[in-house]
Structure formats: structure tokens, C-alpha cells
């Protein structure tokens, strides 16, 4: 991480070139180019509006959750309970809709945000003040939250009849641009990205996240509370996963307590890693993660356009994560996990 000195009024970059520099994002950009080129060569259908639209439909969910994971990883932690938090909030919001069908969308989104925030807070409290390694806590809550989701839903699925059309239309309607439609979900997700970028660049807490993730001891000696900072990271991550739960309901029109968000943590972590985020904390950018999400969406659509079965998806995620870790090796060298 660069060291910034001075009064704090100074902008956190020196020249405009630096402000838009993309050195970390090069890998993701190159891979997106490669995937699109190779797929397009084999199957020209990939460049038709329909494929592009399904890429854009894949993105919003991954993006919102990935912003949360980015914040956690920047702070030097990891959260693998994201998928279960997504499922829990999806079911929770679905049940709220069942009770009063005329709930405004804004209220549903806030409810999802609040539910996710509570779950994330649970993670954060145990990690920050219980001093339990984040991996152990979130692998435990990955199971526990999933179990609680079943408890909440009594094993029943939230059907499309319980989800109002006003919510599902968010995924189908949007801003038309030529023959493409940018769904409201995507616009919303990009808004979240923008807010995250502002938060990380300009807020005091955002800078503290970088400091704690980069060098916890130095941050502590500078008077930053490590437990408070990491706690906030997990709370935000949970809240964003909760939002993603509502978006899941909007995108698919149903929420299944078992499958909603299952293995989602792998997708999200792969997106964050491929976006050039340093996995041991302190380095990373919103733009990079956004490109990572775009890449994964491209891969998903490319697999289906090429007629490769969905069975290969998880293998691809595994390869992406491993490749990113190994190429990133020089920077993540030898850090103990606990």
C-alpha cells in the first residue's frame, strides 16, 4: 500500500493517471478479452445481444456480494458464510412479503440489508472479540445459517406467487441502450460499487480497513482499534450479502432454502481474487473486483453457449481460485491462517 502523509486534505492519489491506473486489473481485463475472443471464435453467437444480456443478468448478484467479500478480505479476513447469509435473507424477505404482499421495494431491500447485517454482526462479534480465526467462524456459520434458514422456512420454498411482480420486474426492466437493456438490478449493483469505492477511498473507516489489512501491528500502534475495524468489515459484508438475497428473489422469482446461494462463496471469492485483490489483505480495488465479476459472468455464459454442461462450473471456479493464488504467490507468501 502507498503511504499517504500530510493533513488528510490531500487527495489519496497524486496525478489523474494514478487515479485511473489499472495495474492491478490488467489480469482480469486480459482474461476477459481471452475468454470472449476464444468463445466468439468457436461460437459467434456469443456476441449476440442475448448472450450479452445474460452476462449482464449474471453480474448484479455476484457484484453486490463481492463488494462485501472485498471489504472483508481487505481487512485481512475471509468470509465463507456469504451463500448462507444470502439464502437466509432471501427466505426472510420472502416470508415478510408473504405476510404483507404490498410492501414497497425499498422496505424489502432494507429488510434484507438489516437481516444480513445481523448475521454479519454475529460473525464479526465472534471473530473480533472471541478471537476465533475468521475461517473457523465462517465455516461454522456457513452450516449454522443454512440450518437456521430451514428452521425459518420450515423447509418450504418461497414461490413466485409470494414475490410481488414489482420486485421481479427489477430484473427484467431497466434502462434501454440500443438493443440491450441494463436491468435495474445491474444499475443498483453498480450504485453499490460506486458507494463502496467512495467508502474505501474517502471515509476514515475505509482507510482504516486498508491499514489493518496491510499491517495490523502498525495500525494498532497508530491507534486504530483492530477489533472494531474488523467487526465493521464483517457487518458490512453480511449486510451486502443480505441485499444480494433480495436481489436473488428478484432475479429468479423463487427462493429455495437449500439451494439459494449454495456454493456462492466460491464464486464470490473467485471474483474477488481474480480482480487483483491481495488475499492476505491491504490491497485491492473496486474496479478490479467489478472486472472479476464480469469475467466470471462471461465464463458462465461462455460455458453454456459452448454447450459445456453446468457440471464443469465448480471445476472452473477451483482452477480460477488456485491460478489466482499461485500467480499472486509472491505477495501472499507465508502467512499463518490462524
Amino acid at each position: 500500500m502507498r503511504q499517504y502523509s500530510g493533513s488528510g486534505k490531500q487527495a489519496p492519489w497524486n496525478t489523474w493517471q494514478e487515479a485511473i491506473s489499472i495495474h492491478r486489473e490488467r489480469t482480469a481485463l486480459a482474461l476477459i478479452g481471452l475468454v470472449c475472443f476464444a468463445t466468439g471464435l468457436k461460437e459467434p453467437r456469443f456476441f449476440q445481444a442475448q448472450s450479452v444480456e445474460s452476462v449482464l443478468l449474471w453480474m448484479p448478484l455476484i457484484t453486490v456480494a463481492a463488494m462485501g467479500e472485498l471489504i472483508v478480505i481487505l481487512s485481512g479476513g475471509i468470509d465463507i458464510s456469504i451463500g448462507s447469509m444470502l439464502g437466509f435473507s432471501g427466505i426472510g424477505v420472502g416470508l415478510i412479503f408473504k405476510a404483507n404482499p404490498h410492501l414497497p421495494i425499498a422496505a424489502a431491500l432494507s429488510a434484507g440489508f438489516a437481516i444480513g447485517f445481523l448475521l454479519g454482526t454475529t460473525n464479526g462479534v465472534i471473530i473480533s472479540w472471541g478471537r476465533v480465526p475468521p475461517l473457523v467462524v465462517t465455516i461454522a456459520t456457513l452450516a449454522s445459517f443454512r440450518g437456521l434458514t430451514f428452521l425459518l422456512s420450515r423447509g418450504d420454498q418461497i414461490d413466485s406467487s409470494m414475490i410481488p411482480d414489482s420486485l421481479t420486474s427489477l430484473a427484467h426492466r431497466g434502462i434501454p441502450l440500443g438493443s440491450l437493456t441494463f436491468s435495474w438490478l445491474l444499475v443498483f449493483a453498480l450504485g453499490i460499487c460506486f458507494l463502496t469505492a467512495l467508502f474505501l477511498r474517502f471515509s476514515r473507516l475505509g482507510r482504516k480497513l486498508f491499514a489493518v489489512g496491510g499491517n495490523a501491528e502498525a495500525a494498532y500502534l497508530r491507534g486504530i482499534s483492530i477489533s472494531r475495524t474488523t467487526f465493521v468489515a464483517y457487518a458490512i459484508c453480511g449486510a451486502l450479502a443480505g441485499l444480494a438475497g433480495v436481489m436473488y428473489a428478484a432475479r429468479f422469482g423463487f427462493v429455495n432454502p437449500g439451494s439459494a446461494g449454495q456454493n456462492f462463496e466460491l464464486t464470490v471469492i473467485a471474483a474477488v481474487v481474480i480482480g487483483g485483490t491481495k488475499l492476505t489483505g491491504g490491497e485491492g480495488s473496486v474496479l478490479g473486483v467489478l472486472l472479476g465479476c464480469l469475467l466470471l459472468s462471461c465464463i458462465n455464459v461462455a460455458l453454456s453457449v459452448l454447450g459445456i454442461e453446468a457440471n464443469w462450473q465448480m471445476l472452473t471456479y477451483g482452477l480460477v481460485i488456485l491460478a489466482a493464488i499461485i500467480t499472486d504467490g509472491a505477495r501472499t507468501r507465508s502467512r499463518r491462517w490462524a
Binding site: 475471509i78 461454522a140 452450516a143 430451514f150 471469492i269 493464488i325 501472499t332 490462524a338
Partner: protein, 312 residues
């Protein structure tokens, strides 16, 4: 708190649980039923033995479950090609060991954090199993099936195999050079390097041994279920980590015993059997296991804090 004392927590808990549960559920005390159910937890137990070594060495292995499932699927594929049972047994052990060693090599030689490497291979191995089999399930040959039904001196074979291996692990961990080196790498890696411990080799062996356990577990699982699928044994990595930690293995590395892990396995297996008898759904059992893991680590941390204060 000393190691010996820490060991007694799960043992006491087992006794309390047995006393408490059997009073409300007398049908649970059927020894035959308990023995039959115990074969369900042998694979978990084998992985927990390996996990104990991995955690003591200051690492973690999230990929054990995926390794087990991938090996189990490949075993079925080999049988399909007409390999004989004895060849497949050897192949399964080799496959599991090499998948584990791959983790170890990335951790030791590339100096990558184990939780990231094994998170990647967790997806990779499970993904490879899914790519190899798809949604299909492959039936296994009749002569290979049903090891959980076979008994020797009234004890099911898988349970005997587990205890034989547990004794082997206890010897390895507490009586050999490699065992002492595992503790040494886990408590202070730099000091171990300076005192001539081959740390890279220790790490690779630890992951390879865990992989071997996954290979043996895969054979037992295949033989018990009679079919191979890519989506079985979900959450088994959580269970094995929970059991190791509950048995007094320090999550930060450097501390732990095989006896602790074995008694924690007995506790968890008994608790799960009791929950099954009481008709507790699988999803709630999942919640309970998650809570158990967090509580086990929290309690150990608290105990450590108090004993540190007592010393100061």
C-alpha cells in the same frame, strides 16, 4: 490449562451426554444399534485423524471432503473399467495421497497460506468429481459392497480399521521423529528451521497422510453406500475440523492429541445418533455442529486466557 486436563473435557462431556440422553431415550442403549450406527462416522473419524495432524502443524485442510468424494468417484470409474478389487484398493490410496500431497506441495514449496490453497482445491476436487460423473450415480460391484455389514469378533470392520489407524496415528504423533517435528513446526516454524527440522517435508507429509485417510475413507464410503455420487459427504470437512478442535487440538497449532480426537469423535457420533433417534432433522444437526465448533474454540480461548492470568 494443561493438555492432559483439556483432554478430559470431551471425555466428561461424553459421559454426561450418555447419562443424560439414555435416561430420556432408553432405546438408545441397544449396543447392537450403537455399533451399527458407528459405521456411519468412520469416514469422518479418519478425516478427523488427518485433520488433527494438519492443525497441529499450524495449517488447515478444507479439501478433505472433496478429496474423499473425488477418490470415491474415481474408484467407481476404475471398477467400471474392469479393474480388480485389490488393484483398486491400491489405486484409491495412491490417488487420495497424491491429491493431499498436491495441497502440501503448494503450501510448502510455493509458501502459500493453507486455507486459501485448500479452499481452491475444495472447489477443484469436488468440481472434478462433478465433471467426471455428472448427475449420474455409478453402482459398485457386488463383491466390494457392504463392508459395514461384515463383522469380526462382533465388531464392524470399518470400526476395527478406524481403531487400528488411530493407534497408528497415536504412535506416529507421540512416539516418532515426524510426530515431534509436526508439533515443532506448528508451535514455531522459524525455530524449527533453525534447529534443522525439514519443515517442507513435514508439511507435505502431513497433507499427504490426510489425503491417504481420504483415500481409505473413500473406499469405506463406496463400500457402505454401494453407489458413487459427486454430491455425497457434504459438510464432512466441518465435522472433521469440529471433532479435532473439540478434542483439544489448538486451532493455532502446536497442541493436540490423538486420544482427544478419538474421544471427541465418540461424543459427536453419539450426539448425532441420539439426535437421529430423537428425529432431529439433518439441517438442525448442521446448525448444531456449527455452534459446537464455535463454542469449542471460544471455550478453549477463554480457558487459555484464564490460565494465562493465573500464571501471571
Amino acid at each position: 490449562m494443561g493438555l492432559k486436563k483439556m483432554l478430559f473435557i470431551p471425555l466428561i462431556a461424553v459421559l454426561l451426554a450418555i447419562v443424560g440422553v439414555t435416561r430420556s431415550m432408553p432405546q438408545l442403549m441397544d449396543v447392537r444399534y450403537l455399533l451399527d450406527s458407528s459405521t456411519l462416522y468412520v469416514e469422518t473419524g479418519l478425516l478427523a485423524l488427518g485433520m488433527t495432524l494438519v492443525i497441529i502443524s499450524g495449517n488447515i485442510d478444507l479439501s478433505v471432503g472433496s478429496n474423499l468424494v473425488l477418490t470415491a468417484c474415481l474408484v467407481a470409474k476404475l471398477f467400471e473399467r474392469g479393474w480388480s478389487i485389490s488393484l483398486v484398493l491400491v489405486a484409491a490410496c495412491l490417488l487420495g495421497t497424491s491429491f493431499g500431497a498436491l495441497n502440501g506441495i503448494m503450501v510448502a514449496k510455493f509458501r502459500l497460506p493453507s486455507f486459501l490453497v485448500t479452499l481452491g482445491t475444495m472447489a477443484l476436487y469436488r468440481g472434478a468429481a462433478q465433471a467426471a460423473l455428472g448427475p449420474a450415480s455409478i453402482k459398485l460391484p457386488g463383491g466390494f459392497k457392504g463392508i459395514d455389514q461384515a463383522r469380526l469378533f462382533g465388531l464392524p470392520w470399518p470400526v476395527l480399521i478406524f481403531f487400528a489407524l488411530a493407534i497408528g496415528f497415536a504412535y506416529l504423533l507421540h512416539r516418532t521423529f515426524l510426530g515431534r517435528w509436526i508439533f515443532s513446526v506448528g508451535s514455531n516454524e522459524r525455530a524449527s528451521v533453525y534447529s534443522g527440522v525439514p519443515t517442507d517435508r513435514v508439511k507435505i507429509s502431513v497433507f499427504a497422510i490426510t489425503g491417504l485417510m481420504a483415500g481409505i475413507g473413500a473406499l469405506l464410503l463406496d463400500s457402505r453406500l454401494g453407489v458413487a455420487r459427486y454430491d455425497v459427504a457434504r459438510g464432512i470437512e466441518l465435522d472433521s475440523i469440529t471433532i479435532a478442535v473439540l478434542g483439544g487440538t489448538a486451532i493455532q497449532g502446536g497442541k493436540g492429541t490423538v486420544l482427544g480426537t478419538v474421544s471427541a469423535l465418540a461424543l459427536v457420533a453419539f450426539a448425532k445418533t441420539a439426535m437421529g433417534v430423537a428425529n432431529v432433522k439433518a439441517e438442525y444437526q448442521l446448525t448444531a455442529m456449527g455452534l459446537l465448533l464455535v463454542l469449542a474454540v471460544l471455550l478453549t480461548n477463554l480457558a487459555g486466557k484464564f490460565s494465562a492470568r493465573a500464571i501471571a
